[in-house]
C-alpha cells in the first residue's frame, strides 16, 4: 500500500511542479534574437574584452543591434571571424589590418641603472602610483609584469636578463589588455608587417635629451635625426620624442642606422650587408621644432642637447 501512496503523491508533486514551471516560463519569457547565438558561436569565445565589450556575448549583442560593423572588430578572431559574423548578419565586413603589441621601452638593467630599490607590492600599478620608478627614467618600464598578468593568451613574458617584457608575435591577438594594464603607457598595438618585421621607437622618454641620456643609454633624446632621414614622412617629433607611424613606415631601416642612441629598434630583419653603400642622405627637411639641433656629428649630439 505504501508504495502506491508514494507513487501517487510523488507524481502529483511532479505534475504540479511542471504546471507551475510552465506558467512561470511563459510569464517571464524574454525574446532574444536567435542571431545573437549564431554570432556568438562564430566568435572565438575567449571573453578577453579586446573588442571593448564585456565578453563575447555582449559583443555579439552589439553586432546584432548595430547598423553596420565599421566600429566593431574582434581582434582575436581577426578578419576571418568578422567575415563570418558579417555573413550571419547579412552585412559588409570591414577589413582591418592585423595588429600586434609592441613594448616601447628598451632600457634593460645594463642600459638604465637603478637609482633605488622598490620593495612594495610587486605590481606596476602600485609602483607607478607611488613614485617615478626604480631608475632615473620616469617614463620607462617598471618591470613588475602587470602586462604579463593581464595577458590571457600567454603572449607576453618578462625577460629575466633585461627585466623587460617581450611579446611573442604568434601568440599575440592584439586584444589590448596589456596596453590598458601598463601604467606607463609603453605598449602599443602596431600594424603587423610581413614576416613580423617591425621598426619602432623603443622609448617613451619625454625628458630633454641630456636628462634622458643620463638616466638611460638607449633613450630617445629627441635629436630629430630620424625625422630628417625618413623618406616617407612616417616619423613625427613631439615632446623630445620621435614616433614612427606604422601606417606610413615602409620599413626601409634608414632611421635605425641614423639613431645615435639605438632607441629605434628593428626586429625580424635579415642581417644587414656591410655598410659600404648606404644611400645618400636626402636633403634636410625643414625642421618644425625649434629645439631640434642642427645636423652635426653623432658624438657631439648629446652634448649639444644637454646645454639646451
Amino acid at each position: 500500500m505504501t508504495i502506491v501512496y508514494t507513487i501517487v503523491s510523488l507524481s502529483a508533486i511532479g505534475t504540479l511542479a511542471a504546471v507551475i514551471l510552465y506558467f512561470v516560463a511563459q510569464k517571464f519569457k524574454v525574446y532574444e534574437d536567435p542571431r545573437i547565438d549564431d554570432v556568438e558561436k562564430a566568435l572565438p569565445g575567449a571573453n578577453c574584452g579586446g573588442c571593448g565589450f564585456a565578453g563575447c556575448r555582449a559583443f555579439a549583442e552589439s553586432c546584432v543591434k548595430a547598423s553596420d560593423l565599421s566600429d566593431l572588430f574582434c581582434p582575436v578572431g581577426g578578419n576571418d571571424c568578422m567575415t563570418g559574423v558579417a555573413d550571419i548578419l547579412g552585412m559588409e565586413a570591414v577589413v582591418q589590418t592585423p595588429k600586434v603589441a609592441v613594448v616601447r621601452c628598451n632600457g634593460g638593467c645594463d642600459q638604465r641603472p637603478k637609482t633605488n630599490q622598490f620593495d612594495g607590492a610587486s605590481s606596476c600599478a602600485v609602483a607607478a602610483s607611488l613614485y617615478s620608478g626604480e631608475t632615473g627614467c620616469q617614463y620607462g618600464c617598471l618591470s613588475h609584469g602587470d602586462c604579463v598578468t593581464a595577458c590571457d593568451f600567454d603572449a607576453i613574458h618578462m625577460n629575466p636578463e633585461t627585466g623587460l617584457p617581450e611579446v611573442i608575435d604568434d601568440k599575440c591577438v592584439a586584444c589590448g589588455a596589456c596596453v590598458d594594464a601598463c601604467p606607463k603607457n609603453l605598449i602599443e598595438l602596431r600594424k603587423k608587417a610581413p614576416k613580423d618585421r617591425k621598426i619602432y621607437v623603443s622609448c617613451r622618454n619625454e625628458d630633454k635629451g641630456g636628462v634622458a641620456k643620463k638616466s638611460c643609454s638607449v633613450a630617445c633624446i629627441g635629436c630629430s635625426k630620424c625625422f630628417k632621414v625618413c623618406p616617407f614622412d612616417a616619423i613625427t617629433m613631439a615632446n623630445n620624442l620621435a614616433y614612427i607611424d606604422a601606417d606610413k613606415c615602409k620599413l626601409c631601416r634608414k632611421c635605425v642606422v641614423e639613431c645615435p642612441t639605438n632607441a629605434i629598434v628593428e626586429l625580424n630583419f635579415p642581417p644587414r650587408k656591410p655598410k659600404t653603400d648606404l644611400p645618400p642622405k636626402p636633403a634636410a627637411k625643414t625642421v618644425e621644432k625649434a629645439a631640434a639641433p642642427k645636423e652635426s656629428a653623432t658624438d657631439s649630439q648629446t652634448e649639444n642637447n644637454e646645454t639646451k
Binding site: K114, T115, N116, Q117, F118, D119, G120, A121, V126, L130, Y131, E134
Partner: protein, 327 residues
C-alpha cells in the same frame, strides 16, 4: 652614495606579529593538554600525536612540492597545528594507519585542495576527524581506559556516550548521575574521551595564554560556551528528567577543545565580532541539538563544520560598523 635606498609605500614599520608566531603560540597553548593526555594514555598518546604531526607536515610538503609545484611552506606551523588538533580529536588507541589516512584527508582534501593556508573553507583537522568518524566508526569510538585505571577492561565509554545510551533507554537523568563522572573529574580530565579533549582545566589554561598573547579574542569561545550553557540550561529547566544540567555539557566531550581551539580557527571563522556572535550561536545551538536529539553522542565537530560553511555568508552580511556610516 654607493648603496641604493629602498623605496616602499607606507607604512614603513610593522608589528612583530607573524603567521608563524600565531601558529606556534596556539601549539604552545595546546602543550599542557598534550602532557595530560600522555599522562593518561601513556606512550600511545605520543605515538598518535607524533604520527599525526609528521604525516600532516609530510603530506603538506609532498603535495605542495610535487602537485602544486610551489615552494613548500611547512615551516609556517599550520600543518603541525592541524596534526596536533587531529590527534587531539581521536582516541589514543587508534591504529596508526587510520591516523595517517586522517592526516591525508585533513591536509590534502581539507586544506590544500582549496589552495592552502587561508583558502580552506572548513577547519582541516575537523574535516579529517569527521572523515574518520564516518569511515571508521568502530575504531573512532572505542575509547581506551587510562593507564592508571584500576580495571581490567580495555575500553570504556565517554560520559556523553553513557548519557546518550541511558536517555535512549528511557532512564531519568537522576538514575544516570551515579554512572557519570563528577564535575571535578570532568574538570581535570579523569575521564574517557579523545586524546586532547579530556582535561577542561588545562584547555582553559591554554585559552588564558592565547588571550594574554592576543592570539585570539575571547568572543568566539565565550559565545559558544555561553550558548551551550544557556540552551542546555533552558532544556534542563523545562524537563530536568530528560535533560542534564548544562555544566556537564560544557565540561564533557569536545566542547572546550572545539570552542577554544577549533571554532576560533581564523581562516574559517567570521571577521567581525557581530559575525562571530552569530557563528558561535550557531555552533552552540547545533551542538546541543545533536547531543540531545541526534544520533551521535557528540556534535561539536559537526556544528563547527556546518558553521564554517556559513562563514562566507556571515562575512558578506555582517559588515563592521563603518566610521561615520549609518548603521
Amino acid at each position: 652614495m654607493s648603496k641604493l635606498l629602498t623605496i616602499s609605500p607606507s607604512p614603513h614599520v610593522h608589528t612583530s606579529e607573524s603567521v608563524n608566531k600565531i601558529m606556534y603560540r596556539v601549539i604552545l597553548a595546546l602543550v599542557p593538554a598534550l602532557v595530560w593526555s600522555v599522562f593518561m594514555f601513556g606512550l600511545d598518546a605520543v605515538r598518535v600525536t607524533l604520527l599525526a604531526v609528521v604525516a600532516c607536515m609530510g603530506f603538506e610538503y609532498l603535495i605542495q612540492r610535487f602537485m602544486m609545484k610551489e615552494e613548500p611552506k611547512i615551516t609556517d606551523g599550520s600543518a603541525a597545528l592541524t596534526g596536533i588538533l587531529l590527534a587531539f580529536n581521536v582516541p589514543a588507541s587508534i591504529p596508526s594507519w587510520i591516523i595517517i589516512i586522517g592526516a591525508l584527508v585533513a591536509v590534502g582534501v581539507g586544506k590544500l585542495s582549496f589552495g592552502g593556508l587561508g583558502n580552506n573553507p572548513f577547519n582541516p583537522a575537523l574535516v579529517g576527524r569527521v572523515f574518520l568518524l564516518i569511515s571508521f566508526p568502530v575504531q573512532m569510538t572505542s575509547w581506551p581506559v587510562g593507564i592508571h585505571a584500576q580495571t581490567d577492561a580495555v575500553t570504556t565509554a565517554t560520559p556523553l556516550a553513557i548519557l546518550k545510551e541511558g536517555v535512549k533507554a528511557g532512564q531519568p537523568i537522576a538514575d544516570l548521575m551515579h554512572k557519570l563522572p563528577s564535575s571535578i573529574d570532568l574538570l581535570y580530565g579523569n575521564i574517557a574521551g579523545s586524546m586532547g579533549e579530556i582535561s577542561a582545566a588545562l584547555l582553559i589554561l591554554g585559552f588564558a595564554y592565547m588571550l594574554w598573547k592576543q592570539v585570539i579574542t575571547w568572543h568566539i569561545p565565550v559565545f559558544v560556551l555561553g550558548t551551550i550553557f544557556m540552551f542546555q540550561g533552558g532544556l534542563f529547566l523545562l524537563n530536568p528528567y530528560k535533560f542534564i544540567e548544562p555544566v556537564f555539557h560544557l565540561l564533557t566531550g569536545g566542547a572546550m577543545l572545539g570552542a577554544i581551539y577549533m571554532a576560533t580557527d581564523m581562516v574559517t571563522s567570521p571577521m567581525t565580532h557581530k559575525g562571530q556572535f552569530v557563528y558561535a550561536l550557531g555552533i552552540g545551538v547545533i551542538t546541543v541539538l545533536i547531543r540531545n536529539f541526534g544520533a551521535y553522542p557528540e556534535g561539536i565537530s559537526f556544528a563547527i563544520l556546518i558553521m564554517n560553511g556559513f562563514t562566507p555568508l556571515i562575512n558578506v552580511y555582517l559588515k563592521p560598523k563603518r566610521f561615520g556610516g549609518k548603521n
